[in-house]
């Protein structure tokens, strides 16, 4: 089956991204495909390249990157939710004349339509909230 996952909770403050990550691993272990992970609301903080937890703690943004890279699925970040929270790629940093961009590698900013698309194209869409 084809799965998509929506994450509404930021890393560390809530379990949402953590739960979603474990769920994603279990989905892949069963031979299913993941099409897209969509980060919305405070979930966009999962896509910050500046997240710097202690070395002996899990780095969720990095773990998502690695899982997505290994299994070739999209990490899509809602652009409107991200920009207002200060998660910007190079284009948006230029557009808003900000000194730096911080969207982590492997993530892409896109519109809310990608969440609707995931619900239409995937066999299953599951949300993890704060």
């Amino acid at each position: 089956m084809n799965y998509s996952i929506a994450i509404y909770g930021g890393p560390y403050g809530h379990q949402a991204s953590h739960s979603a990550y474990h769920f994603a691993q279990a989905v892949l272990a069963k031979g299913h495909h993941i099409q897209r992970v969509f980060f919305y609301h405070d979930g966009v903080y999962n896509a910050s390249a500046l997240v710097s937890p202690p070395q002996d703690e899990v780095n969720l943004p990095q773990q998502w990157q690695q899982l997505a890279n290994t299994h070739q699925f999209e990490l899509t970040v809602c652009i409107a939710a991200a920009v207002r929270r200060g998660v910007l790629d190079a284009n948006e940093a230029r557009r808003y004349q900000k000194p730096a961009a911080n969207l982590a590698e492997g993530y892409q900013l896109s519109g809310l339509g990608q969440l609707i698309d995931a619900s239409l194209e995937s066999d299953r869409l599951i949300s993890f909230g704060p």
Binding site: A16, S19, F23, R124, I126, S127, G129
Partner: protein, 98 residues
Amino acid sequence: MMLHTVNKSGFSSKLLEECLRTVQADDAILLIEDGVYNALKTARTFTDQQAQCTWYVLMEDAKARGLQAEHCHPEIQWVDYSGFVELTEQHASICSWF
């Protein structure tokens, strides 16, 4: 047939109550994160209407919070993440309560 996930404890939130107002017979409810506290015998009682749906609790989250099977309602089945995925295979729609 719908799968509902609930991630808040009934001791601190009305989330499960809201969920129970919408569930239909043959739906399944999976308690995750702090929602696992709803599995405790002290947390809630089963009514006839609620008993028609099937209850599950996510083992990893329950164990992480020190819950043991003998403290929980026997009607609630324990599933791991693999069982969580199986529930999503069996239910075409998933409603996440948070």
